[in-house]
Symmetry: C2
Subunit: 406 residues, 2 copies
């Protein structure tokens, strides 16, 4: 019966969306190579540091997939509303508003990402601008739902009761979600295909979650999320084809910001802004592990990519070097924890000079398994992302019943 229910909600807008996504995939696959020279001419290129012969690779191609994604969505906008348009029924302005606010936030981040690739923005911009870009989204959430109640897990109920109304805090959380998502993918990057690969796994996980929840009470919200996820996946898959090892194009901060904001948007307007974090487990681990360098407790070089060994054609950990005595208390505490857990490579000479791997998940994996070729490393990292999603579904479904009455 559930299956039939799901099918009944797979109505013509979804089919139209699937069709448009397929078209956008083929369009993007063909478009990307055409823009190669234009990007290189516009000084938008990078040198692939993990290759023997580092040629110019066009950078920030995420702007092409982003534009095709937006165009697809623009053309799709009227589709879910055709019933209302032709039958002259009361137009559901509240649903229309959600769509426009979502596209506005995504478009803003595409612009910001592209500006970052061209201009190398500062960190304060990277934190401030996504917050502002999410304002229309929060306003729509306020106007349409304004439900800031969260259900308390069973073990905590003696203290907090059945539910807690977070009020303003819930909006702060959603604003921070936008900032986190946009930056989290951007800092788990640096080997061919990883940015798009992880984003595709996250998008696929969200889509599976949406499909499952189509049989639930809030199916409309999940349908809304699918409208965005399918064309997003189609255009990203096209980019993946050109970005996979050896990369013909780089995706740029543009793609990472676009992806992060798209996920935040569907999470917020699809009412699963807590569940969505479950699909970001590797990104959260990478963020936590990076904290000492992100907050400059430990010296952080401009790039924290793995180090390429020309002889073996393999990648190994890249390192940061510092005097132990120059660290502050907080840095010492963080590193003590990491060393106790044995999750850092640590070499200290007699003078107190420490050589430690750059604190990224990528370097951690290399530290664990030793030098690895670039495509193998990417595959391992994508597999970790997939495993995390499996874990996420286990937490969301079987385990949730332990903590909630469902």
């Amino acid at each position: 019966m559930e299956d039939r229910e799901v099918l009944s909600k797979m109505n013509y807008p979804i089919y139209a969306n699937v069709l448009m996504s397929v078209v956008s995939y083929f369009l993007t696959v063909r478009l990307i190579p055409k823009f190669r020279d234009m990007f290189i001419k516009g000084n938008l290129y990078g040198i692939d540091m993990n290759k023997k012969d580092g040629g110019k690779v066009p950078e920030a191609l995420g702007v092409v997939t982003g534009c095709v994604f937006l165009i697809t969505m623009f053309l799709f906008i009227p589709v879910p509303f055709t019933d209302y348009i032709f039958k002259n029924a009361d137009f559901p302005h509240n649903e229309f508003v959600e769509m426009l606010a979502a596209l506005l936030s995504i478009c803003c981040m595409l612009l910001l990402g592209f500006a970052d690739d061209v201009l190398d923005l500062r960190w304060r911009h990277k934190l401030l601008l996504p917050t502002i870009a999410s304002l229309p989204l929060l306003m729509v959430y306020y106007v349409n739902f304004n439900s800031t109640l969260i259900i308390v897990p069973k073990p905590l109920r003696p203290w907090f009761g059945l539910s807690v109304d977070l009020w303003l805090l819930y909006y702060v959380y959603m604003g921070m979600l936008a900032v986190f998502c946009t930056n989290a993918i951007n800092i788990l990057a640096g080997v061919n295909g990883l940015e798009v690969g992880q984003s595709l796994v996250i998008a696929a996980s969200i889509s599976i979650f949406n499909l499952v929840e189509l049989s639930g009470n809030v199916w409309k919200a999940h349908q809304f999320s699918l409208y965005f996820m399918l064309p997003y996946m189609a255009t990203s898959l096209a980019l993946f084809k050109h970005n996979w090892y050896p990369s013909q194009v780089f995706v740029g901060d543009t793609f990472c910001y676009l992806s992060g904001m798209t996920f935040a948007v569907v999470g917020i307007l699809g009412h699963f802004s807590k569940t969505i974090l479950l699909f970001f487990i590797p990104q959260i681990i990478n963020f936590l592990y990076s904290i000492p360098q992100l907050f400059h407790l430990v010296p952080c070089p401009r790039h924290r990519l793995p180090r390429y060994n020309k002889e073996t054609d393999k990648l190994d950990i890249s390192v940061t070097v510092f005097k132990k005595s120059e660290l502050n208390v907080l840095a010492k505490l963080c590193l003590w924890v990491f060393r106790t857990l044995k999750i850092v490579s640590w070499k200290e000479d007699k003078t107190g000079l420490v050589t430690c791997n750059n604190l990224t998940l990528i370097n951690f994996i290399l530290y664990m398994i030793g030098p690895t070729s670039e495509p193998s490393l990417t595959i391992i990292l994508i597999l970790i992302q997939i495993m995390s999603s499996v874990l996420a579904f286990m937490i969301r479904y079987p385990l949730a019943s332990v903590f909630y009455d469902i």
Copy 2:
């Protein structure tokens, strides 16, 4: 009485908007110099060809004013709705939708403009993308108003009746308006301060028109337009300060697209999509005059800027050279008309080789008044824009009563 009516509609959202605009002016004035080096480092600069010592001038600073403009509007969004929010009245989703669609279209064009400055897009993109960017706008127009009736001027009524319903044609017109506005400012450019100068005159004219119409029946639409025009003018004025002769920064296609789309947006959603064209008289003349070159009937060099004379520090017409015998019939006809009207500089040698000024309004003015210094030329062009606006108001108000019953 009318004055009092106008005042009563100058309510707190307008005052808040004025205040925010003032802040955004000072913010933009301070921000622009800070971004100078970042733009030059990002290879976004041009050489000022009309100066003796052409140094690097950062290009595409329109993206900074555009972002401040958008941020101001994002922060302003809730202001007109506070009444509804706090009184828990029925939320006017239809008005909210207009605001979001307007910002979405503007944001898209800001992205496209910036991409054009970085990547040098092709003409087909410049025509296709604004059309797509205006789709959400047209959808909102359809959903909220869908009035495609136009009143026929008196002399034509025997043939067409009192009014004609243009249906789909009206939407085609509005889509084309977006394309025209975004490109029209971009092709009347090339001397320091002209792009921002003309845009400021157009924006001021629209604002005056809005203020006058605040006493009318559709005052809400004109109030909506003012919400956008005031912060737009504030941020543009800040840009003008840095872009005036001798330019410290260039505005880029970014600014032209941003401006054009902002005007198209308020014209369409403010229900004055016909009146707004009256404020584009110089742009229309420039476009008509440019047609032989835009459609490549006559050879069109990459830049059609006036020619700078280092000795005199003055600007003179720039020229295009072609064999008369190689022109097709259409080109010959156009040029015959121009020569008959004596609006082109035309030199033909015995072999049939023609030297003719590049067909822009700027070159036409130089042809009429002879070599001129750059700031004087800009002032003359801005004065022409102001005169055209005076003419526009005369057509819109005293003259309109001849053709319509008002």
